[in-house]
């Protein structure tokens, strides 16, 4: 029996001018781990909501075609009945927690099924152990961090041992460590429990290695349904915005097959003698080695920029200067511990660290929403802060009432003046919130713009748009301080990265140094190339690899006595384009 089966299914939300799903035919077999890819608004979330029964039973709208989950007709049976076979986890864990303690939250689905107290106790214990949250069982749910809430919500979705688990961007609020752990956990559940998993995700580089199959959606239709490698090949030709950094890196270096993960990318590079040694400077290779193509020269500035040291910290006047800033709540541990930080005008700084490291608290202090218990904060002018949820800024009925026309023009929303803010897409709302905090020409331009997780739930194309917008702002002299969990975005937007842990900076340096040397807080390109040359993005990485290949062509590496297994068993094996 199929875990999910759709036959020519078309669905439109109530009052919508166009269907959200169009003529979708799909069959997900039991035991598969399927990744749903696609840009924002492509229909991924609607498909998941259909599989959970929320569409059409809660959201309304019109459905044509057939759909069943584990043999249960979705059109006939609502989400409560489907809950017996399908567990769901959506983006915002806070709205999915309904009980007061973690133990009660996990017991709730089992109680709804009328299980005996003994069965409930056992189910709760097993789910808590499986997700590593046994220590949280007696904690009140309102006291959990975002990452903990997400795990609890996942445990609540799994506690009834559903045959199908539906997840909509479950890692969007998690730091890289917690995100990787969650994907690993899903793979384990899939392998050990045989649970079918349907996972919608924007950061594909995180989950493709664990997937059996990828379904790409575009405009409500299935645009590609293939194994991860087939999907990457398709994305290269048809949807570059969905291509992972690793796949782009190898494609630009002229290597195949497209890698589904870091390990496979390294194998491909190693087999071609193009994997730079971590102790050899890729930059030196670029400069010293025989560069084979003009492209390498074109890419050199990107590498050089990434490797350059951060601007002088002593630049005066500073856009921001923190001296020994502490935040010590009366009834809990300190959140900030003696933070010293200076940011020069126009400097672009990414603030990274795991959930609860103190990033948001630091931004709130900088923007004056909180006062330090010790230390001083000096700013070179107005500080604008864009908080995590753009919806919190939207209080008017028209976009034009929210922000002045010139601010709307600056963020590219001039044509949306008469729209209702809640009708905008997620990326557009983010830009509108940015216009609100930046203000118009009648307001002093901010000396510093702080952004708290601005890419949460954004697809890669929207992130790129935002990075361009922020780059334009920085060019006018506004300094940027961006708290983010997304290393790829940090690499694209920042020239300096500050890594925060337990309320204090533990690393502060050029993006190329900080983001290329770690396991978690590193871009996929840096992880593939093991930090060589400080290359962070696929363009810079490909330049490095081409230089390495050119060097290898002149000086072939000695034969490897223990060659790695080829990543793809197909007869083409690894070949250059």
């Amino acid at each position: 029996m199929s875990a999910l089966w759709l036959e020519r299914l078309t669905y439109a939300y109530p009052g919508a001018s166009a269907p959200a799903l169009r003529d979708v035919t799909l069959c997900v077999e039991e035991g598969e781990l399927v990744v749903l890819a696609g840009r924002s608004g492509s229909g991924k979330s609607t498909l998941l909501r259909l599989a959970s029964g929320l569409v059409p039973h809660v959201h309304g709208g019109s459905v044509h075609g057939a759909a069943s989950v584990c043999g249960i007709d979705v059109r006939e049976h609502g989400p409560s009945e489907l809950a017996a076979v399908a567990g769901s986890l959506f983006q915002d864990p806070e709205t999915q927690i309904v009980m007061g303690t973690v133990r009660n939250e996990l017991a709730f689905p089992l109680e709804n099924r009328g299980e005996s107290p003994a069965a409930i106790a056992r189910g709760v214990e097993e789910a808590a152990l499986a997700l590593g949250i046994a220590h949280l069982l007696e904690r009140p749910t309102h006291a959990l961090s975002g990452g903990e809430l997400q795990r609890v919500a996942l445990a609540a979705a799994l506690v009834g041992r559903p045959r199908l688990v539906l997840l909509d961007e479950p890692t969007s609020q998690l730091d890289p460590v917690a995100g990787d752990e969650l994907i690993g956990l899903l793979r384990r559940l899939n392998e050990e429990w045989g649970t079918t998993i349907l996972l919608a995700e924007h950061r594909l580089e995180r989950c493709l290695a664990a997937a059996d199959r990828v379904i790409a959606m575009a405009d409500g239709r299935i645009a590609c349904d293939a194994d991860p490698q087939g999907f990457l090949a398709w994305a290269h030709d048809h949807a570059p915005a969905l291509e992972t950094p690793g796949a782009r890196l190898l494609a630009q270096a002229g290597l195949q097959p497209p890698p589904v993960g870091v390990k496979q990318a390294r194998q491909t590079l190693r087999l071609n003698g193009a994997l730079p040694e971590p102790d050899r400077s890729g930059l030196a290779l670029l400069r010293a080695g025989p560069v084979g193509s003009g492209c390498a020269h074109d890419r050199l500035p990107a590498v050089a920029r990434a490797s350059s040291p951060p601007p002088a910290r002593s630049a005066s006047p500073a856009a921001l200067r923190l001296r020994g800033v502490w935040h010590e709540p009366r009834h809990s541990m300190p959140i900030l511990r003696g933070v010293d930080l200076a940011i020069a005008p126009g400097e672009r700084v990414a603030l990274m660290g795991r959930n609860g490291a103190g990033k948001s608290t630091l931004l709130r202090h900088v923007a004056g929403l909180a006062l330090p218990t010790r230390g001083r904060i000096e700013t070179g002018g107005r500080v604008a802060l864009l908080l995590q949820n753009p919806n919190d800024y939207l209080v008017h009925e028209r976009v034009a009432d929210e922000a002045p026309v010139d601010a709307l023009e600056a963020v590219g929303l001039a044509g949306f003046a008469d729209r209702h803010p809640r009708d905008l897409s997620g990326g557009e709302r983010q830009r509108l919130a940015l216009a609100i905090v930046l203000g118009g020409e009648d307001v002093e331009a901010p000396a510093l713009l702080c952004l708290d997780e601005p890419t949460r739930g954004m697809d890669r194309a929207h992130k790129a748009d935002l990075a361009v917008l922020l780059g334009r702002l920085a060019a006018t002299g506004t300094a940027l301080l961006v708290a983010t969990h997304d290393p790829e975005f940090a690499a694209g937007v920042a020239d300096r990265v500050v890594l925060l842990a337990d309320g204090a900076p533990i690393a502060d340096g050029a993006a190329a140094d900080v983001l290329s040397g770690g396991w978690y807080f590193a871009t996929e390109t840096a992880r593939i190339l093991r930090g060589s040359g400080g290359a962070l993005d696929p363009d810079a990485g490909a330049a490095l690899v081409r230089a390495q290949l050119a060097g290898a062509a002149l000086d072939p590496p000695p034969a490897d006595p223990h060659p790695a297994a080829p990543p793809d068993p197909r007869p083409t094996e690894v070949r250059r384009r």
Partner: protein, 299 residues
């Protein structure tokens, strides 16, 4: 104000007993007009909250409710024309007509305000010491949907509080002029509705809509259950007995009159002391300062 698990005999008691105690505390506020009894109810609720480790939450509720009670107290003499002792003549006003403020109407306004304060503090005590999840279990056998609605209303309070704080922060970050209060109220209402829809969706996918009747719990009654149940029954007996005996009588119109004798004072004192008696037995309860919440914080 979410129920916070503290190490106290009241938190150790079952939800049914906690509900009964809060209801028994609130009942005199509904049946008596005597300011002394109403004040005793406020004092008793605050004392019980403090003894249960929820003193701060109750003080906050009291401070939030005080202006509301004051408005009631001041409004009554403007809209009520009863009473014989005129203390101020404010002239004619549209709709209200001639306004003569009487001492009796002012005093009865105070009674109404005090009653509102007492009920709000009792409700705050309930929210602070009774676990809503247990209330859900308690009443789901009777009416699951009603129980869940009531429980979620409690659960939504902290969520909406956080939403409100976030929205207030966002408005402080605006570069231009602050939006009007009306726009803010509209946005908060829309946000609350969005939240409600999200929570409804979460409930559906957890199987709430097809909830089956759960098996009956067979947990034995603890000494704390018995002690607080006895206190609730004693409060009920005091309230009904006092009412039937005509103790603590009070009337505002046409002239102020009331019983201020020993019986009234004894009733008020008993209302304060009876619910505190079970707190004397702290066997099996962690010592102060080592509450579960503190233990969670250390992990």
């Amino acid at each position: 104000m979410p129920a916070k698990r503290s190490a106290s005999p009241l938190h150790a008691a079952r939800a049914a007993v906690g509900c009964a105690l809060c209801a028994a505390l609130a009942l005199p506020a509904l049946l008596f007009d005597s300011p002394l009894v109403l004040g005793a109810v406020v004092l008793a609720a605050l004392a019980v909250g403090a003894a249960a480790g929820a003193g701060r939450a109750l003080r906050r509720a009291l401070l939030l409710a005080a202006p509301f009670a004051l408005v009631i107290a001041l409004l009554n003499p403007l809209v009520t024309h009863n009473g014989l002792t005129v203390i101020a003549r404010l002239g004619e006003a549209p709709v209200l007509g001639r306004i003569d403020v009487t001492l009796e109407a002012l005093a009865y306004g105070g009674v109404l305000g005090l009653r509102a304060l007492a009920l709000i503090v009792c409700a705050a005590l309930y929210a602070a010491v009774v676990d809503p999840d247990e209330v859900l279990r308690l009443f789901r056998r009777v009416s699951f949907r009603s129980a869940l609605t009531a429980t979620l209303a409690t659960r939504m309070v902290p969520v909406l509080q956080r939403d409100g704080r976030r929205m207030a922060d966002a408005q402080r970050c605006r570069a231009g002029a602050a939006p009007s209060r009306l726009a803010l109220v509209r946005a908060v209402a829309a946000g609350a509705l969005d939240r409600a829809v999200d929570v409804a969706a979460a409930l559906e996918v957890r199987g709430y809509g097809s909830a089956r009747r759960p098996p009956r719990s067979r947990a034995p009654w603890s000494r704390h259950d018995l002690a607080f149940a006895a206190a609730a029954l004693a409060l009920l007996a005091l309230t009904l007995g006092g009412r039937l005996a005509g103790a603590a009588a009070f009337g505002a119109y046409p002239l102020l009159h009331g019983a201020w004798g020993a019986a009234t004072w004894a009733l008020a004192a008993a209302l304060v002391l009876v619910p505190l008696v079970p707190f004397l037995d702290r066997r099996g309860i962690e010592p102060r300062g080592a509450s579960l919440a503190a233990a969670w914080g250390r992990r």
